[in-house]
C-alpha cells in the first residue's frame, strides 16, 4: 500500500501496476487531465507537477515542493508525498498569481505546454520571495514551448512576484506526518511489485527475497524503459527513501555522497568544496531532472555520455558498493568495464560516492559541450584536474565523456603533462596525444571529427584560462 496527498486530499493505492507513471495515473485513473503528455521522456515539461516532501530527519518538519516530470516519475515513489497538479491550483476557483500573470502577458498560445509551465513557475514563486532572470530560466529549463518564444513567459514569471496575493500551496496544505505503516510501502499486482524500503536493512531483506529485482532511484533513466519501450518490470525496489543512501557527510579529508541523493540535494552541499562541479551539475538535464536524478543512478547506468563519471574520474572518486554479501570500495576508474558494463554484481548497489576534498592548489576545469545549452546530452564532456607545484605539473587527470565506449582518462595526453612544466608547448603535445587516446564515434549528437577537435580545443581552452587567469567562453560558466 502507498498513501499520499493528491491536491490536498489523502489517497491510498495498493493494486496498481508498479510500472505506472504519475502522469498515467493522474490522467487515466483520476480524471485529472490538466497535466499533459508531450513526450513521455522527461524532455518537454508539459507533465510537470509539484511534489511536496517532508524533510527527513530532525524534529521540526519542513516541506519542500519540487517540480518533477510526472511522465517518468513512478507512482510507487509517491508514498508519503504530496502531489500538486495544475488541476488543484485553483483554491476556491481563484487563479494563482502565476496564472494571472501568464494571462496578462500572453504567456500561452496553443496552451499545451502551459499547465507544465505554470507548475514550474508556481514551484519557483513558492520557493523564494524575489527572483532574477537567471532563477526564471533555471525554473524553465525543463519546459519547452513551441509557440510563444518564451519572452512573455519570462515576463509573467517576474511579474508573478509583484502580485501581492500570497496564495500558497505550502500554506494551504496542512502539515502531515509520515503515514504509519507496518510493512514496506509499495504497489502490488499479481504480476509485479514496487517496494519503497526506508532502511538498508529492509533493502537487504528485499534483495534476498527478490534476487531479480531492479533498483530504481530517481527513475530518470529507468522509467524511460517503461515510457519509451513499453517495458514492464516485475519487481522494482526504490532507493529514494532509504536514509543511509541519501545522506551527505564528511569526515576528515573525505566527502561522502549518498548514491540516492538527488542532484538538487547534493548541489548546495557540495558547493563549499567544489563550486565548479556544482556549476557543471546545473547543466545536467533540467531542474525537473535534477530534482529526481541521482549521482548513483548516473554512474550505475554507465552511459558513455553521462556527465558525472568524467567529473568524478577527474576528482579521483571511489565508490562504496554493498550487497547481501557485504561492502567493498572500488576506485571509479576500475568500475566501468566496457560499453554499459560495470563491476556491479547482481544484487549489489552503489552505497555512496567517496570524494577527496580538494587540495589547496587544485585546479578543476569542467566543460560540457552540447547543441543546446539547457537540458541536452553532451557531445563532449571534459573534466580536468591539475595540481601545480611551482611551474611543474604534479598531478593531472584528464577525463572525457562522449569520446569512447566508457568514460575514461586520456592516458597518452596525461603522460605528456605529468611532471612537465605547464607551458604552451607541453599542452600542445598533450593536445596532439589526444588523437592517440580517442577515436570517437559519429552519431546524432556530433561527428567524430568535431568530437576530437573539440576535446583538443577544450584542453587548449583550459590552458588559456589557467595561464591567463580568466574565463573564456560565451556562457558565464561550464
Amino acid at each position: 500500500m502507498i498513501k499520499f496527498l493528491l491536491n490536498g486530499s489523502w489517497v491510498m493505492e495498493t493494486e496498481l501496476d508498479p510500472n505506472m507513471s504519475v502522469l498515467r495515473y493522474l490522467r487515466t485513473k483520476r480524471g485529472l487531465s490538466g497535466s499533459k503528455e508531450g513526450c513521455a521522456s522527461g524532455d518537454c515539461g508539459a507533465c510537470t507537477v509539484l511534489i511536496g516532501e517532508r524533510s527527513k530527519g530532525n524534529g521540526s518538519q519542513t516541506v519542500k515542493y519540487h517540480a518533477v516530470n510526472s511522465c517518468i516519475t513512478l507512482l510507487g515513489a509517491m508514498h508519503g508525498k504530496h502531489i500538486v497538479t495544475v488541476d488543484g491550483l485553483n483554491i476556491n476557483e481563484e487563479t494563482h498569481p502565476v496564472q494571472q500573470a501568464m494571462i496578462a502577458s500572453h504567456g500561452s498560445q496553443c496552451g499545451f505546454c502551459t499547465p507544465g509551465i505554470v507548475m514550474s513557475l508556481v514551484g519557483l514563486r513558492e520557493s523564494q520571495t524575489s527572483c532574477s532572470r537567471k532563477d526564471v530560466l533555471e525554473s524553465l529549463s525543463g519546459n519547452l514551448c513551441r509557440c510563444t518564444g518564451y519572452r512573455p513567459i519570462i515576463d509573467a514569471a517576474m511579474a508573478s512576484f509583484d502580485v501581492a496575493d500570497n496564495k500558497n500551496i505550502i500554506n494551504t496544505t496542512p502539515a502531515w506526518s509520515a503515514p504509519e505503516q507496518e510493512e514496506v510501502a509499495g504497489l502490488h499486482t499479481v504480476d509485479a511489485d514496487y517496494f519503497s524500503p526506508t532502511s538498508e536493512a529492509e533493502l537487504t531483506e528485499l534483495l534476498t527475497k527478490y534476487p531479480g529485482a531492479r533498483l530504481i532511484a530517481g527513475g530518470t533513466d529507468l522509467a524511460l524503459e517503461i515510457s519509451q519501450n513499453y517495458r514492464s518490470f516485475d519487481c522494482l525496489i526504490s532507493l529514494s527513501d532509504i536514509e543511509e543512501l541519501t545522506e551527505l557527510s564528511e569526515a576528515g579529508n573525505t566527502l561522502y555522497v549518498g548514491a540516492a541523493a538527488t542532484y538538487s540535494q547534493v548541489m548546495p552541499w557540495l558547493k563549499t568544496w567544489y563550486p565548479e562541479v556544482v556549476e557543471l551539475f546545473e547543466r545536467i538535464g533540467s531542474l525537473q531532472i535534477r530534482n529526481r536524478g541521482t549521482v548513483g543512478g548516473n554512474i550505475a547506468n554507465a552511459s558513455p555520455i553521462a556527465d558525472t563519471p568524467p567529473v568524478l574520474l577527474a576528482l579521483d572518486a571511489s565508490l562504496e558498493l554493498a550487497s547481501t554479501a557485504g561492502r567493498r570500495v572500488l576506485s571509479l576508474k576500475d568500475f566501468f568495464l566496457s560499453y554499459k558494463q560495470t563491476q556491479l554484481q547482481n544484487g549489489e548497489y552503489i552505497r555512496r560516492i567517496i570524494l577527496p576534498k580538494p587540495e589547496s592548489n587544485a585546479i578543476v576545469k569542467l566543460y560540457k559541450v552540447s547543441k543546446r545549452y539547457e537540458d541536452d546530452i553532451s557531445a563532449v564532456m571534459a573534466a580536468f584536474y591539475l595540481e601545480l607545484e611551482g611551474a611543474r605539473i604534479k598531478t593531472v587527470r584528464l577525463a572525457f565523456g562522449g569520446m569512447a565506449a566508457v568514460p575514461k582518462y586520456a592516458d597518452h595526453a596525461q603522460t605528456k603533462l605529468v611532471g612537465a612544466e605547464f607551458t604552451e608547448a607541453s599542452v600542445a603535445a598533450a593536445i596532439s596525444a589526444l588523437g592517440e587516446d580517442f577515436a570517437p564515434l559519429s552519431d546524432v549528437r556530433a561527428s567524430s571529427a568535431y568530437r576530437l577537435k573539440t576535446a583538443q580545443n577544450l584542453l587548449r581552452k583550459a590552458y588559456l584560462e589557467i595561464a591567463n587567469n580568466m574565463s573564456l567562453g560565451v556562457f558565464s560558466h561550464a
Binding site: 499533459k36 508531450g38 502565476v98 501568464m102 500572453h106 513551441r146 543546446r372 539547457e374 541536452d376 546524432v444
Partner: protein, 783 residues
Amino acid sequence: MRKLTAVPDTSEHSPEGIAGQSVPHDSATKHVTGRAEYIDDIAELPGTLHIAVGGSAHAHAKIKHLNLDAVKSSPGVVCVVTSEDIPGRRIIGPVFHDELLLAYDEIEYVGQPVFAVAAESFEQAQRAVKLALIEYEILTPLLDVKLAREQESYVLPEHVMQRGNASAAMSSARHKVHGELVVRGQEHFYLEGQVCYVTPTEDGVHVLSSSQHPAEVQKMVAETLALPLNKVHAEVRRMGGGFGGKETQAAHLACVASIFVNKLRRPAKYRLSRRDDMVVTGKRHDFVNEYEIAFDDQGKIEGTVMSLLGMCGFSVDLSQGIIDRAMFHADNAYFLNHAKVSGYYCKTHTVSNTAFRGFGGPQGMITIEAAMDDIARYLQIDPLTVRKRNLYTAERDETHYGQKIEQHNIAEIIAELENTSDYWRRREAITAFNASNQYIKKGLALTPVKFGISFTSKHLNQAGALVNVYTDGTININHGGTEMGQGLYTKVAQIVASEFQVDLNAVMVTSTRTDKIPNTSPTAASSGTDLNGKAAQVACGKIKAEMQAFAKRYFNLADQAIEFANNQVIMGENSMSFAEFVQLAYMNRVSLSSTGFYKTPTIHYDRETGKGKPFFYFANGAAAAEVTIDTLTGEYRVTRVDILHDVGRSLSPGIDIGQIEGGFVQGMGWVTSEELLWNSSGEVISNSPANYKIPTAFDIPEIFNVNLYQQDCPVDTVYASKAVGEPPLMLGISVWCALRDACASVADYRISPDLTVPATPEQVLFAVEQAKMFKEKDSGQAL
C-alpha cells in the same frame, strides 16, 4: 408565450476588446488552469479502442511475407487490419493520390505503416505492433537530393520561373559569386502530438481530430470507408500546436482509426507517441540549393541562376506548393534582375515531407541571404549596404515570376530598425572587438523578410463562416479556420464584436465542424484571419442588413441607416441596447443568423509559363541579430535581437507580437540547434526530444525588442490588417547570417565561409576552421 432570457449588461459603453485592442487569447484562462480540452483529455467512452500502427524497418524494400499471428494473440489486442481490410480507397493523398494508407507491396520509407492494431489500452497496442514478423526483399534506398536529380527521381517534373535572360547576364557579368547551401529540414514538434478520437454515429463516423484541415479529414475518411461526405463529420476545437504539421498528416490517423470504428462499431483513439510522431510524420523539406549571382561594382544584382532541390520524400503530399513557394521566395526582398530559378521535386525514400510554417519560403529566402553576404565579402562592403542596394524599388519592381511589387516599405522598415538597433555603431564596436579578441568573436546581421500572402493554389483562397445572434444579445461564430494557438478564434471574435460594436465577451467562436461550415480550406498559408475574418464580416453584414430593413419598417425610418455603437443600436433619435434590439427583432421574426462567404480577388498563377500574380499582397519585416561565438568549440549565444514587423493595421497587437516572437524563435531554432538527421539507411536519427533540440527559454536573447510596423495594408483586407502566421519565422534567418558574420571575422571578413543550416556548434566550428585556413593561406601568400 416563450419567455426570452433576461438581457445582460445593457448600459451604453464603448465596446471592450474589439479589433485593434490587445486582448488575451480566448482560451487563456482555460490554458493556465489546465481546463482547455485537447483530444486526449476528453473522457473516453466505454469500450474505447487504442490504435497503433506497425511500420517498415527499411527505407526501400518489398514485403515478401507478413506474419501477424503474434500481434493478434498479444494481450489486449482486439483487431488487426491490413490494406485488404480497407472498405474504400486504399490509395490516398491530399493533392495527388499517391500514398498507400497501409503499404502492401513496396515499402518506401522507414516506419511506413503496414498494418494497424486496435487494443484495449495504449500500451497493449504499442507492445503488440512490435511482434510482427515481416520478411523483406531489401532494395537500395535513394536518400540524397543531388543523386535524385542525377537519376531524375522526381515526384513531379522540374519547374522553372524566369525573367529576362539570365545566362546572357551571367556571361557578360563583371563580378560573380556562386555557392551551394545545404539547408536541413525541421521537425514541427507541436507540443501536442498527432491524435484523433473517432466515434461511430448512426450513419457513419464522427471524427475529433487535431487537424488544421477538418474538411480533408472528412473527405479522406469518407473515401477510406466508401461513405458519402454527409455521413462523416470532422470537428476540431483546438490543437496543441500545428505549424503546418497537421495540415495533411492528421488525416492518416483518422483514416486508420475509422477502419476499426466502421468495422467494430466501437470508439477508437489513435494517438502517436512522440517518437512515432517524429518518425512517421512529414517534416520541413531538406534542400540543397545552388546559386550563381552576377552583380555590378555596387553589388547590385544583374543576373541570378538558382536551382532549388527539395527533398519531397516518397510522395507528393504538398510538395508542389512547397517547392513552388521556395522558388517564389528565392528573391526575398531583392530584385533578381535577369533570373532563372529552377525547382526540383526530388523523390527520396524518406517520409513524405509536408507543410511547415513558411512552406518552403524560408529555404528559398535563406539562399539569397547567403548570396548577399557573399557579394558583400567579395566587394568588401557591409552586407547591410548590399542588401539595401538590392531592394525592390518602383523602377526595379518585377519578380522572377512576373508579379510587380507594389508596396515598397521595406527600405523604411530597415531604416527605422537600423536606427533603433543602432546598427552602425554596433557594427563598429563589433569589428573592434573582433580585432582585439582571438577566441571569442561577435557577429551582427540585419535581414529583411518579404513574404507572399495567399495560397498559391487559387481555389483554396475561399472561406465560409456562420454567425448566430441569440436573443440575449450573445453571438456565436463558426468558421472554417482552426485554432492551433495562433489566436484565430480571438481575432475573428474581435472582428465580429467590432462589426456589431459590442463587448468581446458577448462573442464566442466554437469548434470548427464540417457539418457547420462545409468544404473549407486548410488553416494554412497565414491566411486564417484574412479569409475567415472576411467571411465572418460578410455574415455580419448580412445580419446587419436584415436588422436595418427591420428597423426601417418597424420604426418608420426614412433612408437613414441604423448605427451600431457602444453596445447599442441607434436609430435616429431612438436607441436601445444591442440585446434589447435583438429581442425586438426576434419577436418580429427577423433572421438573426447568416453565413458568409469570401474569396480572395485578383490572384492567378500559370504554371505553364511560370508567370502570374500569385500573391494578394506581401507581409514585410526585418530583424537585427547579434551573436557571440566561441571559436574553440563553436558554441554561441544570441545576445540581442531587434525586430520591426509589418502586420498592417494590427487586429490584436498582443497576439501579433506573440506570433512574431514565437515565429522568430522557431526560425532561430531551425537555423541553430534543430538538426534533423538521417542515417545512411534512411532512418531519422533525430527521433526524440532527447536528440532533437528546439530552443529553450535560455536560448532567447536577453535583449529582445519587438515592434509592430503599423501601416494599413494597401489592398482590401479585413480592417487593413496583414497576415502574421508565417512571415516572422524567416526573421530568424538574421541569426544564421550573424553567425556567419562572426565566422567571417576570423578571416578578417575576406570570405563568407560555408555554413550548413542549421548552424550547430559543430557547423560553426567547421566554418571557423575554414576561415582560419583561408587566413593562414592568404597571409602565407602575402609573405
